[in-house]
């Protein structure tokens, strides 16, 4: 009884925090207190959170190193722009079709490649990501290497906020479900989990497809905010960007991925005039984190309201119900 009550208090407080965050930012935007620069960074943050959380499902929870996330983002971006700008359909249709298309791309790529393991999988996904990019460069319908310009700006704060919350909710709930336990067991020991009767291929493909779908969502938001998309934007350096966030946050921590995505976006904004230094810092983050803290900043721990509550009340008891 107590447990059920606590659960409702937890959900209630989470909804309250999210709702107030949403209203606060919405107020700041409508009141004109948030200038263009902050709005752009806020948008990048939300998109990066979507991308990082979706990649952390593949890399962190399933333990399958994918280096082709930017490819799925590209599919989402291009498909959504075709739907909204070229076919004049509403944004919601664009988003949904973008997610489905990216998920389909994830399925087509995932089924054959997920038979591979470890570094072979990494290289194969990298190759597929690059093939998506080169293919886009060769399609005249989407202007080839020049890309599409003059995309209507449809990504607004309610869309972004809703999309980000949805991504986090779906992935957190997936990870905490029985599907999630199967997925995590693959990361821990694939052979053992296969022996326990888990259809590892099925769960790996499932995680891959869901990760790809949300990457498509991120791509759709990106395209409808930044006015222009071209294949070069979605090269493998973009995939590495997202990888840095996941690795820094912790392989297997959604909150870690969110914190790292916000931090890296802020760092990127601060170092805007020094792109080379930014990339050198990324590189050092990757190497140093791997050498000194290979599990990432958060490891597989999650930051939750419960922890804040514990800090607040000054109790520091070990987690009893784990």
């Amino acid at each position: 009884m107590q447990k059920v009550k606590n659960k409702w208090i937890k959900i209630g407080s989470e909804v309250l925090i999210l709702a107030s965050l949403f209203t606060l930012v919405q107020y700041l935007i409508t009141a004109g207190l948030l200038n263009q620069y902050y709005q752009i960074n806020l948008t990048s943050m939300c998109i990066n959170v979507i991308l990082a959380v979706s990649l952390s499902l593949i890399n962190g929870f399933t333990g399958q190193l994918s280096l082709g996330h930017a490819g799925f983002m590209a599919v989402g971006a291009y498909v959504s722009v075709i739907i909204t700008n070229m076919l004049d359909l509403p944004f919601i249709v664009g988003i949904l079709v973008a997610c489905l298309a990216a998920g389909l791309a994830g399925f087509i790529i995932g089924v054959p490649t997920l038979r591979l393991k470890g570094d072979y999988l990494a290289i194969a996904t990298l190759a597929f990501g690059e093939i998506i990019r080169v293919t886009l460069q060769n399609i005249d319908y989407v202007n080839g290497p020049a890309g599409i310009m003059g995309i209507t700006k449809l990504t607004t704060w309610p869309w972004l906020f809703g999309g980000t919350v949805l991504t986090v909710l779906v992935i957190v709930n997936l990870v905490n479900s029985s599907y999630g336990r199967a997925i995590v067991s693959i990361r821990e020991d694939e052979i053992a989990s296969e022996l326990m009767g888990i259809n590892t291929t099925k769960y790996k493909v499932l995680a891959f497809v869901i990760g790809a779908m949300f990457a498509g969502l991120g791509g759709a938001f990106y395209a409808h905010y930044f006015y222009i998309i071209k294949p070069e934007t979605f090269n493998f350096l973009k995939s590495f960007d997202i990888l840095v966030m996941v690795v820094l946050g912790g392989l297997g921590s959604t909150t870690g991925a969110i914190i790292a995505a916000v931090f890296i976006t802020a760092l990127t904004a601060a170092l805007q005039s020094f792109p080379a230094i930014r990339m050198i810092l990324y590189a050092l983050i990757l190497v140093i984190v791997m050498i000194y803290r290979p599990q990432g900043l958060m490891g597989n721990k999650e930051l939750s309201i419960k922890i804040f509550g514990r800090i607040w009340s000054g109790r520091n008891e070990p987690d009893g119900n784990k």
């Binding site: 333990g63 190193l65 054959p112 490649t113 038979r115 591979l116 470890g118 570094d119 072979y120 990494a122 290289i123 194969a124 990298l126 190759a127 597929f128 690059e130 093939i131 080169v134 293919t135 460069q137 060769n138 052979i191 590495f240 990888l243 690795v247 080379a276 230094i277 990339m279 050198i280 990324y282 590189a283 050092l284 983050i285 990757l286 190497v287 791997m290 050498i291 290979p294």
Partner: protein, 293 residues
């Protein structure tokens, strides 16, 4: 038929470059099971050392190549010591992510220090000459690239087959624990492997400079990936496989640009990689091994 032969000649020199880079990938993979993502960037460092040795010191091309090889050998050993050695007993994913980090570090350090723009490889270092042979035109740079690559490969074969160091390298890649028990210093052998692999990449870098006439900080990425594909194609960890794979990739690429769409050139390399990984991940020369629990 004449055009076809011409394409083969063009492909051979490109293939020789890929083969040299692929050798480094394959040797490192064979010995520590790591895809050294930074290998292509070591090639870039080599190309720049060659470039500066030609322009600032005014040396000839052979001295420049030697200087590049020596510098990169040191570089390779340092990278292994600083970045890869602490991770030798951690997961392969961690090592791979580190390698990506090292690769980004080399690329953007080069951009930071030298600027992102292309630099033109001095023509005077290698005056172009074309020979005609029964209707075929053969450039002296193709000959230079092909011959020096083959000489380097022969030296490598000698080192691996006939010297004590080579024996140690083969032993460590076969079974590291057993090699330690036989009194082989694993650390030293791995360092030597990195030194040799990086020196070959540096030589390839100078050749790329001669071949394409330009050098830039990001020049290592695409040839690096293609050479990796070559290594996988031949069977990663197998030295003759890397050579064959390199030549196949070079020929395939010139054929695709010659007869098809050159924009698809890069996609073809990745397509080959995926086909190989799906059909026979162990490569042409590899043996299928079951997974040990």
């Amino acid at each position: 038929m004449l055009e076809f032969t011409q394409q083969i000649i063009n492909g051979l020199s490109l293939g020789a470059i890929y083969a040299l880079i692929a050798l480094g990938y394959t040797m490192v993979y064979g010995i520590i099971k790591l895809i050294n993502f930074a290998h292509g960037d070591i090639m870039m460092v080599g190309a720049f050392v060659g470039y500066f040795s030609l322009t600032l010191l005014g040396t000839n091309i052979f001295v420049a190549m030697l200087a590049a090889m020596l510098t990169c050998a040191v570089f390779g050993v340092l990278i292994e010591k600083i970045a890869y050695r602490p991770l030798r007993n951690s997961t392969r994913i961690a090592a791979l992510i580190t390698a990506i980090g090292v690769s980004l570090f080399l690329e953007y350090m080069a951009i930071f220090l030298l600027g992102p723009s292309q630099k033109v490889f001095p023509d005077s270092a290698f005056p172009l000459k074309a020979y005609t042979l029964g209707g075929l035109s053969i450039l002296n740079k193709d000959v230079f690239v092909f011959v020096s690559a083959v000489v380097l490969m022969l030296i490598l074969q000698y080192i691996i087959k006939w010297t004590k160091t080579g024996k140690a390298m083969r032993a460590v890649s076969l079974d590291r624990e057993a090699a330690v028990l036989m009194g082989i210093s694993v650390d030293k052998t791995i360092s030597i492997t990195f030194a040799i692999g990086s020196a070959l990449a540096a030589a390839a870098g100078v050749m790329v400079g001669v071949y394409y006439n330009t050098v830039n900080p990001l020049m290592g990425i695409i040839p690096g990936l293609k050479a990796f594909v070559a290594a996988v194609l031949g069977g990663i960890g197998i030295i003759p496989g890397a050579m064959v794979g390199g030549f196949v990739m070079g020929l395939l690429e010139t054929m695709v640009s010659g007869y098809g769409n050159s924009l698809y050139r890069d996609a073809v390399a990745f397509g080959v990689l995926i086909l190989i990984l799906l059909i026979k991940p162990s490569g042409i020369f590899g043996e299928d091994t079951g997974e040990k629990v």
